[in-house]
C-alpha cells in the first residue's frame, strides 16, 4: 500500500515556478529522503505534503486518501522542524500531548503514549521541564517525541539536524535510523546534506530546479547516476568531470570518474602534477592538474609520500567511468 502518492504537483509563487510537476509514490514503512541544493523546492514539496502550503495543481494522497482539501491536523502526519518549534510556554509533556488533547484522545491513553515515546527517546527525566531548560539535542528529541505520540501515517522531518553540532548530528542521525527500524513507520526527510541522505534513506529523491532528477536506492544513485547533476551531488568528494580529449576518447561529451575510483599507477594513461595534497590520516586527497589543464581529485585510502609538485600518473578503475551526453544525461551501453 502507498503511504503517500503525489501526482503532478506544481507550485508557482507569482511568476516563479518552484515545483514543475512532481510525481512520487512512497510505500508504507519506507524511509524516503528529499535531497537537493537550497532553492530546489524540497522544503516546498514537504510543506505541500503537510498542507502548510497549497499546490497550484496536482494531488496529494496520504494513506490512500486524497487530502487536498484537508487541514494539516487531519492529514495523519506529524512534522519535526529544523528549529524544533517547541511551545515555549508548555512543559515537555505538555508539548507532546497538545495535539492529542486537540484530537480528544483520553487522558489515560495520552499518558501511556507519552510514557512510551519518552522511554524510546530517554526523555522520561525531562518531562516536567520547559524547552528553555533543555539543550539543543534534548529539544530535538522532544520535537521527535511530539511527532511519535501522534502515531501518524507519515512522519515529516524538515532538516532536523541542521541546528545541531557535528557530533550531536551523527548521534541523532543514528537515533533517527534506529527509530525508523523500531517504529517501522513511513518517514519523509528533507535535507541538503547528501551524507544524511545516503546514510538514512531507503530511497533518495534528488531534486533540482523544481524537478525530480532521480529516485532510487542510495547505492544505485552512487553507482548509476542518471545525469550530471545527480552524479555531482551524490558522493563526497564530488565526482570529477572531464571533457575534451578524455571524454572524446570514451565517446561522450563529459566523462565522470569518482575520486575513489582513480588510482596512482606508474603505468597509468593520465599524466599530471599534484597541485595540493590533503592528508586526513585515513585518506589522502590529491588535487592533480592533468596535462591539458583539467583538474581532478584523487582519493587514496591510506597515507602516501606523494607531495605537492610531484608528477603522477593516474589510471581509472575499469568499469567505474560514467559517460554523459551533451544533454547531461547518462549514456549507458545498450
Amino acid at each position: 500500500m502507498h503511504s503517500l502518492k503525489l501526482t503532478r504537483i506544481v507550485k508557482t509563487f507569482g511568476q516563479v515556478e518552484v515545483l514543475k510537476g512532481v510525481d512520487l509514490e512512497v510505500e508504507t514503512g519506507e524511509f524516503v529522503v528529499f535531497v537537493g541544493p537550497s532553492g530546489c523546492g524540497k522544503s516546498t514539496l514537504m510543506r505541500i505534503i503537510a498542507g502548510l502550503e497549497t499546490q497550484t495543481s496536482g494531488t496529494v494522497e496520504i494513506g490512500g486518501r486524497n487530502v487536498d482539501a484537508t487541514v494539516p491536523a487531519r492529514r495523519g502526519i506529524a512534522m519535526v522542524f529544523q528549529s524544533y518549534a517547541l511551545y515555549p510556554h508548555l512543559t515537555v509533556a505538555g508539548n507532546m500531548t497538545l495535539a492529542l488533547k486537540e484530537d480528544g484522545v483520553p487522558k489515560a491513553e495520552r499518558e501511556a503514549r507519552v510514557e512510551k515515546a519518552a522511554g524510546l527517546l530517554q526523555l522520561s527525566p525531562l518531562l516536567k521541564r520547559r524547552p528553555a531548560e533543555l539543550s539543543g539535542g534534548q529539544r530535538q528529541r522532544v520535537a521527535i517525541g511530539r511527532a511519535i505520540v501522534r502515531e501518524p501515517t507519515l512522519f515529516l522531518f524538515d532538516e532536523p539536524l541542521s541546528n545541531l553540532d557535528a557530533a550531536l548530528r551523527v548521534a541523532t542521525r543514528l537515533e533517527i535510523a534506529k527509530l525508523h527500524r523500531t517504529l517501522g513507520a513511513t518517514m519523509i526527510y528533507v535535507t541538503h546534506d547528501q551524507i544524511e541522505a545516503m546514510t538514512l534513506a531507503d530511497r533518495i529523491v534528488v531534486l533540482n530546479g523544481g524537478t525530480v532528477q532521480q529516485v532510487g536506492r542510495p547505492i544505485d544513485l552512487y553507482n548509476r547516476p542518471d545525469n550530471l547533476f545527480v552524479a555531482g551531488f551524490i558522493g563526497s568528494p564530488k565526482m570529477n568531470f572531464l571533457t575534451k580529449r578524455f571524454a572524446e576518447e570514451a565517446g561522450a561529451a563529459t566523462l565522470g570518474v569518482r575520486p575513489e575510483h582513480l588510482k596512482v599507477d606508474p603505468a597509468g594513461a593520465w599524466a599530471g602534477t599534484v597541485r595540493h595534497a590533503e592528508h586526513l590520516g585515513s585518506d589522502t586527497y590529491l588535487y592533480v592538474v592533468l596535462e591539458d589543464g583539467q583538474e581532478v581529485t584523487v582519493r587514496i585510502p591510506e597515507e602516501t609520500p606523494i607531495a605537492v609538485d610531484d608528477a603522477v600518473r593516474l589510471s581509472p578503475l575499469p568499469g567505474r567511468l560514467h559517460r554523459f551526453g551533451a544533454d547531461g544525461l547518462a549514456l549507458r551501453a545498450a
Binding site: 491536523a73 528549529s83 524544533y84 518549534a85 524547552p131
Partner: protein, 280 residues
C-alpha cells in the same frame, strides 16, 4: 575596572555626564511641580526652586483638590478611558499586525501602508468631522467617544511596530501549531502574543501616555462634569483672573501617580525580553 585605559574611562565619563544632564533636564520640571504642590502659595511665588521647609509646607492644595472637585471621579474616568483604549489598541493592533505579517493576500503591502499612514496624519485634523460624527451617533459626553477616538489614534503605530515584531516570530512554531490542530486564533493568542510581549509593552507605553495627558478630545467630546478626565478636571483651578496654583500643582502631581504605576508594570515586561527557548 581599574585596568581600563584612561581614554576609555574619559569617554565613559562623558557619556554619563550627557546622560545625567539629560535626566536632570527631564526630571527637574516634574520635581518643581511636585515640590511646589506641597507649599503655600506665597512660598511658591517667593522661592519656586526651594524644597518645602517646615515654615512653607502646606497641604492646602491637596485639600482644595479633594474637597472642591470630584477628583476621584475624574481619576476613574481617565483610567477607564486609558485602559479601555489601550486594550482595544493592543487587541486590534496585534490582530491586524498578525494578518499583515502572516498571510499572503492581494493588497497586503498597500493595506500595511494605509494603516501606517495614520502615524503621519494627526488625528486632530479631523476633530470637526469627529465631533459631527459623535453628535449624530449620540456619543457626545460619553467615555465611549473618547475610547473610540483614542483607539483610532493609537492603532497605526501599534500595527506598524507589532507587524515588524511578528515577522520575526518563527514560522516553524506557527506551523507546528497548525499541524497539532490549533486554530489560527489559538496560534495568535497562545503562541504568538506571548512572544511579542516586549513589543506589546512598548506599544502600550507609547499609546498610554498621550491618552492620559490629552486635553483636546476630552474638552471637545466629553466636557460634561460626569465624564471629565483628570487633565480637564485640573483646569477648573485655572481661572481667567485668579489661578489657584497650589491646587493646580497638586492635581497635576496626583495625575502623575497612576500613569507611573502603569509604566512600571509595562517596563518590567520591556526589560524581561523575549521568552527564550522557543527556537534554537
Amino acid at each position: 575596572m581599574s585596568t581600563r585605559a584612561p581614554t576609555q574611562r574619559f569617554r565613559l565619563a562623558l557619556v554619563h555626564l550627557a546622560l545625567i544632564a539629560y535626566a536632570l533636564i527631564s526630571v527637574l520640571p516634574v520635581l518643581v511641580v511636585v515640590m511646589n504642590s506641597f507649599k503655600t502659595r506665597r512660598a511658591i511665588f517667593n522661592a519656586p526652586l526651594e524644597p518645602p521647609l517646615p515654615s512653607t509646607a502646606s497641604l492646602a492644595g491637596y485639600r482644595t483638590v479633594i474637597t472642591q472637585s470630584d477628583f476621584l471621579l475624574y481619576f476613574q474616568n481617565s483610567l477607564v478611558v486609558t485602559i479601555g483604549s489601550l486594550f482595544f489598541v493592543l487587541l486590534f493592533g496585534a490582530m491586524a499586525a498578525f494578518a499583515l505579517s502572516e498571510y499572503r493576500f492581494k493588497l497586503n503591502t498597500f493595506l500595511g501602508l494605509f494603516l501606517a499612514l495614520g502615524i503621519m496624519v494627526p488625528i486632530r485634523l479631523g476633530t470637526v468631522a469627529i465631533l459631527q460624527m459623535m453628535v449624530s451617533a449620540g456619543l457626545v459626553n460619553t467615555l465611549t467617544a473618547l475610547v473610540l477616538v483614542y483607539t483610532a489614534q493609537g492603532l497605526p503605530l501599534a500595527v506598524f511596530i507589532l507587524s515588524e515584531f511578528m515577522r520575526n516570530v518563527s514560522d516553524d512554531l506557527k506551523n507546528a501549531g497548525r499541524i497539532d490542530g490549533l486554530s489560527e486564533y489559538r496560534i495568535f493568542f497562545v503562541l504568538v502574543l506571548p512572544l511579542v510581549r516586549p513589543a506589546l509593552a512598548t506599544v502600550a507605553v507609547f499609546t498610554m501616555i498621550p491618552i492620559w495627558n490629552d486635553l483636546w478630545f476630552p474638552l471637545i467630546l466629553a466636557p460634561g462634569e460626569s465624564t471629565k478626565t483628570v487633565t480637564l478636571g485640573a483646569q477648573i483651578f485655572l481661572g481667567q483672573f485668579v489661578t489657584n496654583w497650589e491646587a493646580v500643582l497638586s492635581a497635576l502631581s496626583l495625575a502623575i501617580l497612576p500613569i507611573l504605576v502603569l509604566y512600571l508594570l509595562f517596563s518590567r515586561q520591556l526589560i524581561r525580553g523575549i521568552t527564550a527557548g522557543a527556537v534554537k
